[in-house]
């Protein structure tokens, strides 16, 4: 239904002709892309027994791979970039809580390699939670972790960009 004020009233919007993995685009009157949907997000604890996912979108869950370290697995793969086979090079960010410690969530990259396939993968992202504790900078499990991911639906999909 489209109302007289050009408001589309729906419970679901799906694409046609954009490929099987792409959501709709949001463009302004000048055909500039002016919005982007989150590709995945998750909230979970890795201090509980057993570990638990509180809520998520497009995430199967996570693997506990060590103290303060975890690998989040995506339900539907994030699209890969041009000339990249499995590393999507998407944007990922998060925030954690580990008791009253001051912690930071970061990509679990511990070497200087420019190949990020081991941590920024189309099927998963590996992250760690670290910060102040008994030993400064130590990885530590968080009782509340949240991670949000933005990925390009395809190369070229986001163009033309706004320039204003």
């Amino acid at each position: 239904m489209i109302s007289s004020s050009s408001t589309l009233v729906v419970s679901n919007v799906s694409t046609v002709g954009l490929g099987t993995t792409r959501p709709p685009m949001f463009t302004n009157v000048d055909d500039q892309n002016v919005g982007h949907l989150a590709s995945a997000w998750i909230t979970f604890t890795n201090t509980a027994s057993p570990n638990a996912v509180y809520a998520s979108f497009n995430c199967l869950g996570f693997d506990d791979i060590g103290e303060g370290r975890f690998k989040i697995n995506f339900t539907n793969s994030l699209e890969t970039g041009a000339n990249i086979s499995t590393s999507s090079l998407y944007a990922v960010s998060g925030m954690g809580q580990a008791g009253s410690n001051r912690v930071t969530l970061m990509v679990d990259k511990t070497n200087g390699s420019t190949d990020h396939t081991d941590v920024i993968h189309s099927n998963f992202v590996a992250m760690r939670c670290g910060g102040s504790s008994a030993s400064a900078g130590a990885n530590q499990d968080g009782n509340y972790n949240s991670v949000i991911v933005f990925a390009n639906p395809s190369q070229g999909f986001i163009s033309p960009q706004r320039t204003d």
Partner: protein, 137 residues
């Protein structure tokens, strides 16, 4: 490929419409709230919202600690948030969820507690903070 031209999309439920690819898989989620706040230009001892969506207000509860209040409630108190903070000096600043113990829940459906930290060891007042939130449904 088809294009529909609108000024708004309105959901038939309390939550945003689902956004699917052509094979019916949900491929993205709308942001349910975001805010950028910083020191008040007229009074640097206060903080003000610079821009935001679905954020009613922010409260400066003590040094380096803030509560963000949402206009419209989140569907659950288990939503995902992320963000960054910049310092008033050259120190490295982080931002994390704020609860005083491991059993505390740092959020409700209408608010979330955060803290900005300096060098990972102390709470410190920031210059500028950006937060965004994603929720179920």
């Amino acid at each position: 490929m088809s294009t529909i031209k609108l000024s708004a999309i309105k959901s038939t439920t309390a939550n945003p419409p689902t956004m699917q690819s052509q094979n019916g898989i949900e491929r993205g989620k709308f942001c349910r709230g975001w805010v950028a706040f910083g020191r008040d230009l007229g009074d640097v001892n206060k903080y003000e919202v610079q821009s935001g969506f679905n954020v009613l207000a922010i409260a400066d509860t003590t040094v380096g600690q803030f509560t963000i209040y949402f206009n419209n409630a989140m569907p659950t108190n288990r939503f995902a948030i992320a963000g960054t903070a910049s310092s008033t000096n050259t120190n490295i600043m982080g931002v994390c969820l704020n609860a005083s113990n491991t059993s505390g829940v740092p959020m409700t459906t209408t608010s979330v507690n955060i803290r900005t930290t300096q060098a990972g060891t102390t709470d410190a007042d920031p210059n500028y903070v950006c937060i965004f939130a994603y929720a179920d449904a």
